[in-house]
């Protein structure tokens, strides 16, 4: 054993432990959802983004921060596209600590569109302490930070079930069919009717899960629509240029007795 030192044990242990974990419990592939924002020309569903923001604001944001987003992002093209008035109202609904003022005092003021999303806890330790030792991850890039992305987030939200018989769960631990390892410290966040959609959509768990996942997908990739749009133009341009250069090349090489 002595010739195995830190790094070798470390790497081996990692692989062994993680694969054993996967073998020990049933691991389900995430549900495949036909998201509107997938594919070469995919776009977000605007109404779903707005509803998703409502779910985030009324449910998720009590524990999960979204520190890299600003309120102004909510009004930007390619996002939920709230009106300027709505964005101002959303921002003004939170109290932001600012300062120091000319007297050296910190003070509170209503939020402005330029402010970052207010975090529910002052720091990570506070959020862990308030959540039974589990850190509620920041949601800014959560979709990009999980294998399976949007499908995975959606699946976890709808994957709460009673544990299989024989599985004993500690207090504050819940069974989730799709969570990696099947154990999650977040209780099922969505229940039928937990939010009241302003556009009259029926707030079923499935609907809310889809809406909030759409919102989180936008939050992680706010450039997605512009990226897709630009990408299509760039590829078309490159193909046309390639054809032109190919024809030029054929013409130039016709001067010598060699193929190209």
């Amino acid at each position: 054993m002595s010739k195995f030192n830190f790094i070798k044990i470390f790497i081996l242990a990692l692989f062994l432990s993680s694969t054993n974990l996967v073998k020990a419990v049933e691991q389900n592939d995430p549900i495949k959802v036909n998201w509107s924002f997938k594919g070469l020309t995919g776009k977000f569903d605007r109404a779903s983004l707005q509803r998703g923001f409502q779910v985030y604001k009324e449910v998720c944001s009590s524990c999960h921060s979204m520190q890299y987003l600003s309120y102004r992002n909510l009004g930007e093209l390619g996002g939920p596209e709230f009106s300027e008035e709505e964005v101002k109202a959303i921002a003004a609904s939170v109290e932001i600590e600012d300062g120091p003022d000319s007297q050296g005092e910190m003070f509170f003021r209503p939020g402005r569109p330029s402010d970052k999303f207010k975090s529910p806890y002052p720091n990570i330790n506070a959020s862990i302490a308030a959540n039974g030792g589990a850190y509620p991850p920041d949601m800014s890039v959560l979709v990009k930070a999980r294998p399976g992305g949007s499908n995975y987030i959606y699946s976890v939200l709808v994957g709460y079930e009673d544990p299989p018989s024989g599985m004993v769960l500690d207090d504050g631990v819940y069974y989730n069919k799709y969570m990696i390892g099947n154990k999650i410290k977040m209780s099922a966040p969505l229940t039928e009717g937990i939010v009241e959609y302003t556009d009259g959509t029926q707030p079923s768990v499935d609907q809310m899960a889809k809406d909030v996942t759409t919102f989180l997908s936008w939050a992680a990739e706010p450039e997605l629509e512009e990226r897709h749009r630009t990408g299509v133009k760039v590829i078309i341009y490159l193909i046309l240029l390639t054809i032109l250069v190919y024809l030029s090349m054929k013409k130039i090489w016709s001067r010598v007795d060699s193929e190209v």
């Binding site: 010739k3 070798k8 081996l12 692989f15 930070a145 999980r146 897709h228 760039v234 390639t242």
Partner: protein, 419 residues
């Protein structure tokens, strides 16, 4: 070559050129006689130059917005993605550009292995190329650390820990590399500094690589020397420039496909989780282009042995020109070597696949077989095959490959192999 006869037309041009012969250099690069039978595998040199310049330009812009501090790096990357104009585009070009760079360099290296471009008189070109490849790996590794995500941090921890395998001074060297007692802010700072430096070292080596190339001239698919420059070659411009441009555009379409439609598929999702020294990711895997070497490292049940074999797998390439005993360059005329070449390609691909898998069970067995074969290919197969092999008849010149040697007519097609 006829460059010496180049005379600038204008008086000012002549005045300047007498003092610094830049115009002569330009004329040489334009007229440079290039074998007319080069196939598309030869376009990757130009593609690699494009990759390097793309990485430097996007990198310089990213460095204007990036903050190399353990507490701020992750947030500054998100700032680039969200608030900097077209920051997402610049960053995705840079991150996918690294993968495209390696894709191109692997094709370039394997082209050289197939056509024997590393053999006399091109050994120095080959060795400079390997130095570039080594620096590329260092730059890519350090670049992957900069976003300071989970895979950045733990990748850096695993790789820097390799140096602790060195007897006696290993621990001290590791601490010295870190600038701390673990991967920490000083590590990030120096990696950023070096990540900015290395591309310019590569650029310098690229100049030497091309200079060394222009001494003997290009190898070619037939692998024979130029006999009749007027018949066998074409001027670099416009023949090769337009062909390189065509190939580059095709390459750019693939590149753009990644950047615009699957920008994160080559990365690891864990790197969007901020670095946390207290939480180890389930699988620590390097970027795809380092996986074969990672598989070799893990196949050895001893740390120092693993490190030696991993570096040995790269350094053995430096003596390749002297391990290959065959006088014939191109595999087109080497029926036996051709088969071993493809076995070697499969071996490297297999090692790459295994590098991404857990080091246990069948994977560990395959990794060991693959590692042993990797070295056997260089130490045993190449010297022996070169001595035993009965090579096919070699054409007399590029222009008339069939006439002179009594080779089968099919050879005429072979030296015009196109992809």
């Amino acid at each position: 070559m006829s460059d010496h006869e180049y005379k600038p037309k204008s008086k000012a041009g002549k005045w300047f050129n007498d003092r610094l012969p830049l115009l002569t250099l330009g004329a040489h690069l334009t007229d440079y006689p290039t074998p007319k039978n080069l196939n598309y595998w030869w376009t990757f040199g130009g593609i690699l130059t494009f990759c390097l310049l793309t990485q430097i330009i996007t990198g310089v812009v990213l460095a204007m917005h990036y903050v190399a501090h353990a507490d701020l790096a992750f947030a500054s990357v998100e700032h680039i993605m969200r608030d900097v104009n077209y920051g997402w585009l610049i960053r995705y070009i840079h991150s996918n550009g690294a993968s495209m760079f390696f894709l191109a360099v692997y094709i370039h290296i394997f082209r050289s292995l197939f056509y024997g471009s590393y053999k006399s008189p091109r050994e120095v070109i080959w060795i400079i190329g390997l130095l570039i490849y080594l620096l590329m790996m260092a730059a890519a590794f350090m670049g992957y650390v900069l976003p300071w995500g989970q895979m950045s941090f733990w990748g850096a921890t695993v790789i820097t820990n390799l140096f602790s395998a060195i007897p006696l001074v290993g621990e001290s060297i590791t601490t010295w590399l870190w600038g701390a007692y673990s991967v920490d802010n000083p590590t990030l700072n120096r990696f950023f500094s070096l990540h900015y430096l290395i591309p310019f070292l590569i650029l310098g080596l690229v100049v030497l690589h091309i200079w060394a190339l222009h001494v003997p001239g290009n190898n070619n698919p037939v692998g024979i020397d130029i006999k009749k420059p007027s018949k066998d070659t074409v001027p670099f411009h416009p023949y090769i420039t337009i062909k390189d441009a065509f190939a580059l555009l095709m390459f750019m379409i693939v590149f753009a496909g990644f950047v615009f439609f699957t920008p994160n598929v080559l990365g690891h999702s864990d790197n969007y989780i901020p670095a946390n020294p207290l939480v180890t990711p389930a699988h620590i895997v390097p970027e795809w282009y380092l996986l074969p070497f990672y598989a070799i490292l893990r196949s050895v049940p001893d740390k120092l042995g693993g490190v030696i074999l991993m570096f040995g797998a790269i350094f053995i390439l430096f003596v390749l020109p002297w391990l290959d005993t065959s006088k014939v360059r191109s595999a087109v005329f080497r029926p036996l070597y051709r088969q071993f070449y493809w076995i070697f390609v499969i071996d490297v691909l297999m090692l790459g696949y295994i590098g991404a898998m857990p080091a246990e069970g069948i994977y560990l067995v395959l990794a060991r077989v693959g590692t042993i074969y990797y070295f056997l290919h260089f130490i045993v197969v190449l010297p022996v095959v070169g001595l035993l092999e009965k090579t096919e008849p070699i054409p007399m010149s590029i222009s008339d490959p069939v006439l002179s040697s009594g080779a089968e007519p099919s050879l005429a097609k072979k030296d015009n192999v196109k992809i």
